[in-house]
Amino acid sequence: MLKRNNRRRLFRNITLFLAILGPGIITGSVDNDAGGITTYSVAGALYGYNLIWTLIPSFIVLLVIQEMNARMGIITGKGLADLIRENAGVKITFFIFIGLLLADIGNTTTEFAGVAGSMEVLGVSKYISVPLVGAIIWILVVKGNYKIAEKVFLIFSLSLLVYVVSAIMGKPHWGEIGKAIIKPEMKMNTTTLTMVLGIVGTTIAPWMQFYMQASVIEKGLKIKHYKFVMIDIIVGCVATVVVAFFIMVACASNLHDNGIVINEAKDAAMALKPLAGNISSLVFAFGLFIASIFSATILPLATAFYVCEAFGFEAGIDKKWNEAPEFYNLYTIILVLAVCIILLPNAPLIGITLWTQVINAMLLPVVLICMIVLVNDKKIMGKYVNKPVTNIIGWASIILLIGLSLLLLLTPLFKK
């Protein structure tokens, strides 16, 4: 009896893993969005190899937080927005989601800045590329099939590995990289601190927690899949850090050594041209383009989803427009706003990036504290509450992040 089950066990295990694969890897990839690439490029160009070490703590914190999200999703079957609303009340939820909405409009704007920048490297005006990409994304989600889009993105996220090519073409000094990781040479001042925060902050953004938990539920994962889920998360986190590493290396070995200062990811692509060759520059721009489109699709969608979930409106791309009007309206508004801001002549991009970072920095501790309280609640999690080790790492990360966030918020005050 059930012979074919046995026969197909191996096959099943592989398909099961492929079916589970996704939440961690996609979250990890969206992580390396236009904002992330910019931060890593600037850090590489400015500090050479000396800030690469920050990727190690980032990796640990990212891993711990995503594991908690996945576990909460698996056990409760409820979204993080749901849980916060039900347990922390309407006011905290409102604060979080107004912040999340503002931050994500800002983030989406930076994604379109990435689209504009990468296409400008190829000589395409932003007045053509941005509205076109915006329209394609909107149609893809509203009229198209997101399930297919998600699979395409998974393949796309592999293409972020082009940064490895870009980095190796710049002939990096591996010995120096190793030395810089173990014993970085850096001056502790506010600029450095801001940069370190920027790197950690771009790696762990508040909206990711909601996205991660929602996709775990969407996949219908169970505790018996935990092992596979962990592999997925680890692969995602490793991919995030590896891509970040090579971007920093690419910019460090070409730009830093030649003393070139950049402000945007686009600048990095441009600057690579005379130094590392045309292909290296194009590859860098291509990566930026893919990453920007990827995140510009997922961010507004995810934001509209959590906001509706928290406030009890119908949401989800499997619903029709008249079934979930709030969801689609919100999604469209975020997308249109972001596109319009980019198309403004002299758009205050740096200001938007800065304010987005500030809001994120304020939100992150609130979201994380809600999370760790929820994940330790026996009524919600049963026997799957945090183990002491996870709690120690979790709380330490939270305190560290709050400290860093506060520093980031206060630093500009001291500067003046």
């Binding site: 059930l2 039900e86 309407v90 219908g220």
Partner: protein, 422 residues
């Protein structure tokens, strides 16, 4: 100042409660309501029956007499006569408005979907205070955040209105009782009136613990219908979390091919337990279906069919159907087999209805029927159904013995499923 008739639950929370001599007893942290047992069914609205009071960090579960709620501006003054402590366990019967309703998801029975409660509209009359409706609109949300009045003013400048949306208590079903420590078998009688596919949609959106509680409350017949409508992974989740007995009962009520699909997706140990628990007759059928790979006709076939001898009369057949009361699907097509159980013809429901009661099936049956073999590929089915306009295709073994049939609904479902995963 005066006795007020309607009020909002959110504003009641945190109010101080006074005794007859104006002493503060504590602040209201939750309200316990109970549906009065003897009502004329017309408006079975929950009545405030107790309060959880917080005073000095301690929680007291109390009952009282003569509750009075008086309005002072936007704050309420709550006063009662005598007050006595009761066991917290008592409150498990009935529900707590904050723990079970406010901010939670409930089922909107008329709208057939889950909604989130922003506030609760209550009324105080001479014999007590009642919950009458839940507020699920934006207005309630703004009230909770505390910016209702300024926003209303701003919107009114543009001649707009903030939509308010209430659902009467009769039209809702509370779902989430996980905060009550005591596990009670709650009945969801209003939910049971919904169509199985609506219940399935609602179950899919619930949290994991509520899913199982709501599903377990369904009677076996309804449960089988609902289970059939659930998504694949939800089916597995439900079956894994039910007791083996209950799960087996539900699976028995399902068409064997659907049951086989679900069992095929379970872990071997659990599957074997269930098959042992099920009636032998049903489990044998399921086991047989499990042997077919997913790409073959056999995996989709239903072994439940109505087959007759060609010498039976129309009247006999109709009588048999009347007595057996089979599911709709079984009436899609009837099959005529010979003494060796080999398929020789089919008869449709229309043929039966328009024929003389006394005529034998032999006279009305269609010989040389279209059929498929049990190990034919699934892909062939859609074409056959559409070409010959069939509702159910007979399935035969290699030796022409009737094995079962594949109904058009399942073929369609299979096609849609394939398109979705492509």
């Amino acid at each position: 100042m005066g006795n007020l008739t309607t009020f909002y639950f959110s504003r009641l929370l945190g109010c101080d409660i006074f005794d007859a001599r104006e002493n503060i007893l504590g602040s209201i942290s939750d309200v316990w309501v109970q549906v009065p047992p003897h009502t004329d069914d017309e408006a079975a609205r929950p009545k405030i029956a107790g309060i959880i009071i917080k005073s000095g960090g301690e929680k007291r579960h109390v009952q009282f007499t003569d509750l009075q709620i008086v309005k002072f501006g936007t704050k309420y003054k709550v006063q009662c006569q005598s007050l006595h402590d009761v066991q917290p366990e008592l409150f498990a019967d009935g529900m707590l408005l904050k723990a079970n309703i406010l901010d939670k998801q409930i089922v909107d029975i008329t709208g057939r979907k889950l909604v989130r409660v922003n506030d609760i509209r209550m009324v105080a009359i001479s014999n007590g205070a009642y919950a009458i409706a839940v507020d699920v609109g934006i207005e309630g949300l703004l009230r909770r955040i505390g910016i209702e009045i300024p926003i209303k003013f701003m919107v009114s400048l543009f001649k707009g209105r903030i939509p308010s949306k209430y659902i009467l208590w009769d039209d809702i079903e509370a779902i989430d009782f996980s905060n009550l420590n005591i596990k009670l078998s709650k009945t969801y009688s209003k939910l049971h009136t919904l169509h199985p596919s609506d219940v399935a949609d609602i179950i899919e959106e619930l949290g994991k613990s509520s899913k199982t509680t709501v599903f377990s409350s369904l009677d076996v017949e309804k449960a089988a219908d609902v289970l059939e409508e659930l998504k694949d992974h939800e089916q597995v989740h439900i079956i894994e979390n039910l007791s083996v007995e209950k799960a087996a009962d539900v699976l028995e009520k399902m068409p064997a091919n659907e049951a086989a699909d679900i069992i095929d997706r379970l872990e071997n140990k659990r599957a074997e337990e269930l098959l042992k628990e099920m009636k032998k007759e049903t489990s044998d059928e399921v086991r047989e279906l499990l042997e077919y790979p997913n790409t073959k006709v056999g995996s989709l076939m239903s072994t439940d069919v109505l087959s007759f001898n060609q010498h039976s009369t129309v009247e006999e057949v109709l009588l048999h159907i009347r007595q057996q009361k089979p599911d709709m699907e079984l009436l899609y097509n009837f099959f005529i087999v010979n003494s060796k159980e080999r398929l020789i013809a089919t008869v449709s429901l229309r043929d039966l209805l328009i024929s003389e009661p006394a005529s034998p099936l032999k006279n009305i049956m269609k010989k040389k029927p279209v059929s498929v073999y049990d190990d034919d590929p699934l892909d062939s089915l859609a074409e056959i159904v559409s070409k010959y306009n069939l509702l159910a295709v007979p399935v035969i073994y290699e030796n022409n013995v009737l094995a079962g049939m594949v109904v058009v609904d399942d073929i369609l479902e299979d096609l849609i499923g394939k398109r979705r995963t492509k």
